[in-house]
């Protein structure tokens, strides 16, 4: 039976000459057939990690597998697609030629590559532009062709490094739809981005990386966990009721009452009804991906790890290295 993870790596390290530690023992598991987001501030090491998996950068040390083969196994890349950040295609090629060229390098049989190219041009909405040279394309159009070339070999896993960077809102929406479609076909989509809102809309699971380390990893539903319930009520609360609520550890602010879990929420509702207080609304508090991200990287500076002396004091958070992938 195949592994549930397309990527299962541990202790990935990269130290550049000069002593800069880009990656400091990264361990990561990416579930098969999901959209996986790797988040992190600029310079956190996200692109370095992808480049190691794509054999563009050599790791100082790396254990584990991608698609069941050791990282660095060139032949495995025939089943991998990649759209790099700031991708630059030869300006003299047309959109169609870029996809063909990519297919040729990936070893896709010529006849199949031709058929696939036409399908992909349709898929990314570039069919009518296929004969135009790349130099006439906008950033968004180049990204679309970039996505198409990454898919020409029918990859099991697609790496997209900042795929919506510089793309207009319409293009972003289309990109999201395309990624969902890929996942629905059973492919794993690995998205590297610092645009948290984008990822929140599409990711099934995610990891947060900062200063060359994974500080948080899990499925999105668990990462963006419930943070209690809030009820808004009508009118002022009596002193008696306020005392009761204090004993129940209910936070009271601006006519809104907040409790930590669903049991306390039930008790609160009962208490409020007994006191004939009108409940206007009730909702489940949800931490946004941004909140989660900021919480995870709190106290960490931007860029690569610069050594203990330069690192800001990081609070001992519960979330650090918490493995919640089910």
């Amino acid at each position: 039976m195949s592994s549930p993870y397309v990527i299962d790596i541990s202790n990935v390290r990269k130290t550049y000459s000069g002593g800069v530690e880009a990656l400091r023992g990264v361990s990561l598991k990416v579930p098969r057939g999901e959209i996986f987001g790797l988040l992190g501030p600029n310079g956190a090491g996200k692109s370095t990690l992808i480049k190691i998996l794509m054999t563009i950068i050599r790791a100082s040390s790396c254990q584990g597998v991608m698609l069941g083969q050791p990282v660095g196994h060139k032949a495995t890349l025939a089943k991998v697609g990649y759209l790099p950040e700031h991708v630059r295609f030869p300006e003299y090629l047309t959109g169609r030629q870029v996809i063909h060229y990519s297919a040729g390098l990936a070893g896709v049989p010529t006849r199949y590559a031709k058929k696939k190219t036409e399908e992909l041009l349709e898929f990314v909405g570039m069919k009518t532009w296929a004969k135009k040279p790349m130099k006439t394309f906008s950033k968004g159009m180049k990204q679309r062709i970039g996505l198409a070339q990454a898919l020409v070999n029918d990859p099991d896993i697609v790496f997209l490094d900042e795929p919506t960077d510089g793309v207009d809102p319409k293009g972003r929406k289309e990109m999201r739809e395309a990624l969902r479609e890929l996942a629905s076909e059973g492919r794993t989509v690995f998205v590297n981005s610092h645009l948290l809102g984008e990822l929140e809309m599409i990711c099934d699971s995610a990891a947060v990386m900062t200063q060359g380390e994974i500080v948080l990893q899990g499925s999105l539903s668990e990462l963006i966990q419930s943070d209690g319930y809030t009820l808004s009520v009508e009118g002022d609360l009596s002193v008696d009721l306020q005392t009761k609520l204090e004993r129940m550890q209910v936070k009271h602010e601006n006519g809104e009452l907040t409790v930590e879990n669903k049991h306390l929420a039930q008790q609160l509702i009962d208490t409020l009804r007994a006191s004939e207080v009108n409940i206007l609304s009730m909702y489940k508090n949800k931490q946004s991906l941004e909140d989660m991200f900021l919480d995870a990287v709190e106290g960490m500076g931007p860029g690569a790890y610069q050594g203990e002396s330069k690192k800001e004091n990081k609070p001992n958070k519960e979330v650090v290295n918490k493995e919640v992938v089910s």
């Binding site: 480049k51 050599r58 040729g104 390098l105 070893g107």
Partner: protein, 338 residues
């Protein structure tokens, strides 16, 4: 094999998209047509397809002298100046961007992320660059082949030796361009570095040629060059040649460098024209300029000088240079993080 083809095709497309490629092709075409424009008739010869006519009682259509003349201008001008110089210079400039473009951020990632070994990519790009000179010289030589056939009725297939030989000479320099391109990712550095190497190589070979002439060829023939008058003087009988002093230094300098000059001169060995029957085969442009033919002693000295290096020495020596430089460049390309 398919990958190699894909990268070569891309190299061709890259060249095709560059104006400089077409400028080079146009220049090759013009130089070739310039040669083809020399015509002979019953009263003399003309250039520019009959535009300018010169009356000459010897250089007439079908005369052995006309055949000699036509071959001589090819050897003296088109081989030396165009095939051995101008065409290669243009090719160096036109191909200098290949490796800097390949290794540019955003471009290299796509190429390296494919299931293709880095050595394959590197070598395919190198051969792609050589393809430029190959096509350029093929076009030129084809025109010359047809021109020689039509003008003097000699269909000389040995002319096509020029295609691999010029490509070979170019590859001696292009490997340096590749090394600098991989190291610095700069087109300008690649051009400057390659031209510097070419100059260095040319100077070292010229120094070795002069040293060999003065210290070996002339004393062996019983002559010495008077440095004051620049005239040859006969040495007294029984004078033993001195031990060469400059030649060993020149050889040390010349040996590790690519034999660009000697490589281009190989064209004369490989491209062989049948005897025109004019009896003028030993006369070259220098003799014509001097207004007299060379003495048999001078001819024999020149022959010894021109044949001091064997074809194998030139080819294997240059191949060793190309291999070493390509190995370093390839190693850097393969080991580098992008």
């Amino acid at each position: 094999m398919k990958t190699l083809w894909v990268i070569l095709l891309d190299s061709y497309r890259m060249m095709n998209a560059r104006k400089l490629f077409w400028v080079c092709i146009a220049m090759s075409l013009m130089v070739g047509l310039g040669y083809a424009s020399v015509e002979f008739d019953e009263t003399g010869y003309s250039i520019g397809f009959g535009m300018i006519h010169f009356e000459n009682e010897f250089l007439t259509k079908g005369s052995p002298m006309a055949q000699w003349f036509y071959v001589m201008i090819f050897n003296e001008f088109f081989v030396k100046l165009w095939l051995g110089g101008g065409a290669i210079l243009l090719a160096i400039v036109a191909t200098a961007s290949i490796f800097p473009e390949l290794t540019k951020e955003g471009a290299i990632e796509v190429t390296l992320s494919k299931p293709v070994g880095r050595w394959t990519i590197f070598l395919a790009k190198f051969f792609g660059g050589c393809l430029f000179t190959f096509l350029q010289s093929l076009l030129f030589v084809t025109i010359v082949f047809i021109a020689v056939g039509l003008r003097v009725e000699v269909w000389n297939v040995t002319l096509f030796w020029a295609v691999p030989l010029v490509t070979f000479v170019f590859s001696m320099l292009f490997c340096v361009s590749a090394l600098i391109g991989v190291m610095f990712r700069s087109e300008i550095f690649a051009i400057i570095g390659t031209l510097m190497l070419w100059c260095l190589s040319w100077s070292a070979q010229s120094f070795e040629l002069i040293a060999y002439d003065l210290e070996v060829v002339k004393p062996n023939a019983g002559y010495k060059l008077n440095m004051q008058t620049a005239q040859l003087e006969k040495l007294p009988k029984g004078t033993k040649p001195k031990e060469p002093k400059l030649l060993p230094i020149a050889q040390v300098l010349e040996k590790p460098l690519p034999k660009t000059r000697a490589g281009a001169e190989l064209l004369k060995r490989f491209i062989v024209f049948p005897d025109s029957g004019s009896g003028l085969e030993s006369i070259d442009f220098e003799s014509l300029r001097g207004g007299r033919s060379q003495s048999s002693v001078l001819q024999s000295m020149n022959k010894e000088l021109n044949q001091r290096h064997s074809t194998a020495y030139v080819i294997w020596g240059s191949l060793a240079f190309i291999t070493v430089i390509l190995a370093i460049a390839g190693f850097l390309f393969v080991r580098k993080d992008y």
